[in-house]
């Protein structure tokens, strides 16, 4: 009997360890009607004036020393190719490419209402002194580009957990994007970690490592799909019309949601109704760079001034929408002008398992001394448990009801390039969410 019980236990374990995540069978969703006003235009429908700003070629001259980059110097001039816009968009990953302390307030919520909130301080050291152009053209593959020191503040189980990320300039010959060291106060050990797999999700998050650290534009083939005007990306629920941000000293401040705009107050190109004009780009992984990449295709909405990605969609290997990232930006480093935009709000939605994660960012500008750079951004520093900003935790959401709404589906836009297949349950939850003005969880939707 004991033997049988043990065998059953081991069988259960082996099944669990060997199984993949249970995939969600999907059925075609009701495509619904088009939005009241058509805001999008395909490339073929663009006016002659709009087309003058764009270069539709895919075979522009190449840089002599870096053949996978355009010969035209960064930050490029009108008219823009899709590739050039993508390279500009690379400047804006989740964490900024300039020195600062990033205060990251992150949240995740499942469709059953399980919620996770965390605050992390992330001192950032960016090496290219002449900005992103140097990052692209001068940095050699294998050269360090940035170091992030992630210091967990809350919840209590994460207090003092630290991770040092060392990011590298990569190409086909040097493919290591990240070296990573982790420190846990409960183990009191600093451990070098294997490089995260690009398609793996961050722990308790909807985002993959590629969503977090950004993608290299040269690994994809780019095409201009058209233009669009975005009016909403990250949407606040009716249960919470405020957001907690931080001032330049890292102090928490509460702001009214209606005072937030997609690209911040200083943005010069809002439409009369507060929209942001975007170019819509399609990215297909190049097989010679990315074999068997987890996303079959990505679609970017980048604004027409800074080329900041306000919305990014990922499509799975069957070509269906699998992931949506929407953002609100702010001009966090005005000295860098249009290159100083950064992610203020990030919302990630894993469509396949209906899992939402979000981040709100605060920025404390820093000028690191040479001593700071050597001491603070080395693995051994983590053992000192020295927070580089006051370690103030915050539970800014009082309940899962206060989480952001799922991103708008933007149904009907670019139908030739976008396939949205949602399960009836997710579709029902979305309809309930739009009706209620807040997230509706499984048991609340009323059809169970």
């Amino acid at each position: 009997m004991a033997l049988r019980a043990r065998q059953l236990l081991w069988l259960l374990v082996c099944c669990l360890l060997c199984s993949g995540s249970l995939g969600a069978a999907t059925v075609a969703a009701d495509q619904g009607g088009l939005p009241p006003q058509k805001t999008w235009t395909t490339a073929a429908e663009l006016t002659a004036e709009e087309k003058r700003a764009l270069d539709f070629r895919t075979d522009t001259p190449r840089d002599a020393s870096v053949p996978y980059l355009p010969a035209e110097p960064f930050p490029f001039q009108l008219p823009y190719t899709a590739e050039e816009m993508a390279l500009r968009a690379m400047e804006f990953p989740h964490s900024p490419f300039w020195d600062c302390i990033l205060i990251d307030m992150a949240f995740s919520v499942t469709n059953s209402g399980f919620m996770d909130q965390r605050v992390t301080l992330i001192p950032i050291l960016y090496f290219p002194e002449n900005g992103f152009g140097e990052h692209l053209y001068a940095a050699q593959p294998g050269q360090e580009i940035y170091r992030w020191l992630s210091q967990g503040v809350s919840p209590p189980e994460r207090y003092g957990n630290q991770t040092l990320w060392i990011g590298y300039r990569t190409d086909k010959t040097f493919r290591t994007k990240i070296d990573m060291f982790a420190y846990s106060p409960s183990l009191r050990r600093i451990r070098r970690q294997p490089q995260p797999r690009r398609e793996d999700r961050l722990p308790n998050s909807a985002a993959t490592f590629d969503n977090l650290i950004g993608r290299d534009a040269w690994e994809f083939s780019w095409r201009i799909l058209g233009t669009d005007v975005l009016h909403q990306t990250v949407r606040f629920p009716k249960t919470r019309q405020t957001a907690v941000l931080t001032d330049e000293k890292g102090q928490y401040v509460e702001v009214d949601a209606k005072d937030l705009s997609l690209m911040g107050k200083e943005y010069p190109l809002y439409t009369t109704d507060g929209g942001v004009k975007c170019y819509v780009l399609e990215a297909i992984p190049k097989s010679e760079w990315l074999r068997d990449y987890y996303a079959h295709k990505l679609i970017y909405w980048v604004d027409q001034y800074a080329f900041f990605p306000l919305r990014v969609e990922e499509y799975d290997r069957q070509g269906h929408l699998s992931f949506v990232n929407t953002r609100i930006a702010s001009l966090a480093n005005p000295a860098l002008q249009e290159h100083g935009y950064a992610v203020q709000f990030d919302l990630w939605w894993d469509v396949s398992i209906d899992f939402l994660s979000a981040s709100t960012h605060g920025f404390v500008p820093q000028t690191w001394t040479e001593e700071d750079k050597k001491i603070f951004f080395s693995p051994g520093f983590m053992r000192r448990e020295w927070f580089l900003a006051p370690p103030k935790g915050l539970m800014s959401l009082n309940s899962p009801d206060e989480f952001y709404l799922r991103p708008p589906l933007e149904e009907g836009k670019f139908p030739d390039s976008r396939s949205i297949n949602l399960s009836p349950e997710v579709q029902a939850l979305i309809e309930a969410q739009e009706r209620e003005g807040k997230l509706v969880f499984e048991e609340e939707r009323g059809d169970g």
Binding site: A2, G113, R175, R189, P194, P203, I375
Partner: protein, 542 residues
């Protein structure tokens, strides 16, 4: 046997039920589509419970936050943990043990941690642990009587144990000075290789896990100074206060069944109903805090040369366990000779190395690129004292000697960690314990192989979170085979299976199955064949 079957069935049902509940709570939407209404009701109830737990943090809200608001310079945190293990074997005699208990631990641990920022450079830290293990009170067991020897096994009851850490730290860019009671973890491997600074509470014997070292290390009063230069550092330790290892005592759940005398005899001696017979042991001689010559010193250098980091250590220390030296021989009333031993701690020189290196294997079948990390750690210890039973026999015959010989020992491990898809972590860690110039009839000694010249432990670990639970469920399996030579060959295998579930960001539950299989009854793992157990931990952090 009937009792065991009943117990297994209950445990199996509980395990299955919990797993079903956990899985059903997080199934993807399409699963809900196929569920009937009863299962839907369970999911809905769980969903409501999920949302309730999301913000359930009473100690944080009503204790921690008000205190921190009142004293802004104070950071206050802590946790409450319930830790229980239930044995799968019924009542029986095992070796010298009267094993009539089912729970081998029912520990309740409250930890309170305070940090007070005196100035930007100066901080005072205090960590307190309050433990109560109810196994000794909640079971009617004749085999559990450890509190008669040491109350610490039941509850922490004195300053030494409750106040685990109390230190003041001063830091500048290049210098850290930490003075006070503290614990130091050197090394980065699973298991203790160069992690030898503090003594350890080894009440769980072979079940002690690296994840519990934080609460099992025995902090000591010391000065800890680190100088940082560039990405490198030099660490110096001066430890006037000596804390030895605390091993299981007679009447505790993990006391070795091989150790004599029998439990009944031990209790009779403790009760004064019987005198101890055989060899005599004098009171253990300990190093003195007041004697500068008795202090311990450590030095560690860490160097970062991306993608390689490495370090060297030297530790002039005391052996954490006393060695019994023969000091005399006498004849008892029956005319039999017996020996008089003087247990005392001996000096050891430890030299160690640690290194790690990251890389990736390209074009691997099925997984494409495979990131890996290589870690190496080793500790060579000079002149470790070993009891020599040949020498003891000669002493018994009248040729008086110390009964001790000294040997160098080596313990080392190489770990290769692979990052497979799905955040699956796989670690292969072959470890070696080796006694130089070993010979039969040697007792145990620090760092050396157990009961043999060499031990090889090819440790295998695999763990992964499950995406369909949104990473709330994580399952880990560890296998530790104990290979030995040239005498014993095989000393058994320890298997450990852990299912961890995050009920909320404050509350975590763990189910742990630990088994000790095969090996002879005199082998390291073999002797604990009847100690297989299922444990659970429920932890609330605030």
């Amino acid at each position: 046997m009937h009792g065991k079957r009943g117990l297994l069935s209950v445990v199996g049902s509980v395990l299955g039920g919990l797993l079903l509940l956990a899985l059903s709570a997080n199934v993807s939407p399409c699963y809900g589509y196929f569920m009937d209404k009863q299962v839907d009701a369970v999911v809905n109830t769980w969903s409501r419970f999920d949302r309730f737990l999301s913000t359930f943090d009473p100690a944080g809200r009503y204790v921690r936050q008000p205190i921190e608001r009142q004293v802004p310079a104070l950071t206050f945190r802590g946790f409450l943990r319930q830790w229980s293990d239930i044995q799968l074997s019924g009542d029986r005699r095992v070796g010298n043990r009267q094993k009539d208990f089912r729970f081998s631990q029912m520990q309740n641990l409250l930890e309170l941690e305070l940090h007070y920022q005196v100035s930007p450079n100066i901080e005072i830290t205090n960590i307190n642990n309050f433990i109560y293990d109810s196994v000794y009170n909640w079971q009617d067991s004749a085999g559990l009587f450890a509190p008669r020897t040491s109350e610490t096994f039941r509850a922490y009851h004195n300053f030494e144990r409750i106040v685990r850490e109390l230190y003041i730290s001063y830091r500048t860019h290049n210098l850290d000075v930490v003075l006070g009671k503290q614990q130091i973890a050197w090394g980065k491997m699973d298991g203790q290789y160069i992690d030898v600074i503090n003594g350890m509470d080894r009440r769980e014997s072979v079940q002690l896990e690296a994840s519990d070292y934080e609460w099992r290390r025995l902090p000591a009063w010391m000065a800890n100074v680190t100088y940082f230069f560039g990405a490198n550092s030099l660490n110096f330790l001066w430890i006037p206060n000596f804390e030895q290892d605390r091993n299981p005592v007679p009447g505790s759940p993990w006391y070795s069944p091989l150790a004599s005398p029998r439990d009944t005899e031990t209790k009779a001696i403790l009760d004064g109903r019987q005198d101890a017979t055989g060899d005599q042991f004098r009171e253990t001689k300990r190093p003195s805090t007041g004697d500068f010559g008795d202090h311990q010193y450590g030095l560690r250098l860490d160097v970062s040369m991306e993608p390689l980091t490495w370090g060297l250590i030297y530790y002039y220390a005391w052996n954490k366990n006393p060695t019994s030296f023969i000091v005399d021989r006498d004849i008892d009333a029956a005319g039999d000779p017996y020996l008089i031993f003087q247990p005392r701690f001996t000096r050891l020189h430890h030299l160690g190395i640690t290194a790690d290196y990251a890389s990736a294997l390209s074009n691997m079948p099925l997984v494409g690129e495979l990131p890996i990390v290589l870690r190496v750690e080793g500790l060579w210890t000079k002149d470790v004292p070993f009891a020599d039973f040949d020498h003891q026999d000669r002493a018994r015959e009248g040729y008086l000697n110390s009964g001790i010989i000294r040997r160098d020992t080596l313990r080392a491990a190489i770990a290769v960690e692979f990052a497979f898809p799905g955040n699956t972590s796989f670690i292969f860690q072959p470890s070696l314990l080796y006694t130089f110039d070993w010979r039969k009839n040697l007792g145990p000694g620090f760092g050396g192989a157990v009961g043999d010249k060499w031990n090889v432990l090819p440790v295998i670990f695999i763990g992964r979170p499950f995406r369909f639970t949104r990473d709330r469920l994580r399952v880990e399996m560890t296998l530790i085979p104990w290979i030995s030579g040239p005498v014993r060959e095989w000393q058994g295998i320890k298997s450990k299976l852990v299912a961890q579930y995050r009920f909320s960001q404050f509350i975590t539950g763990r189910l742990i199955y630990t088994a000790f299989s095969s090996g002879d009854r005199t082998d390291l793992y073999g002797q604990f064949n009847k100690w297989d157990n299922i444990g659970w931990e429920l932890s609330y952090e605030f």
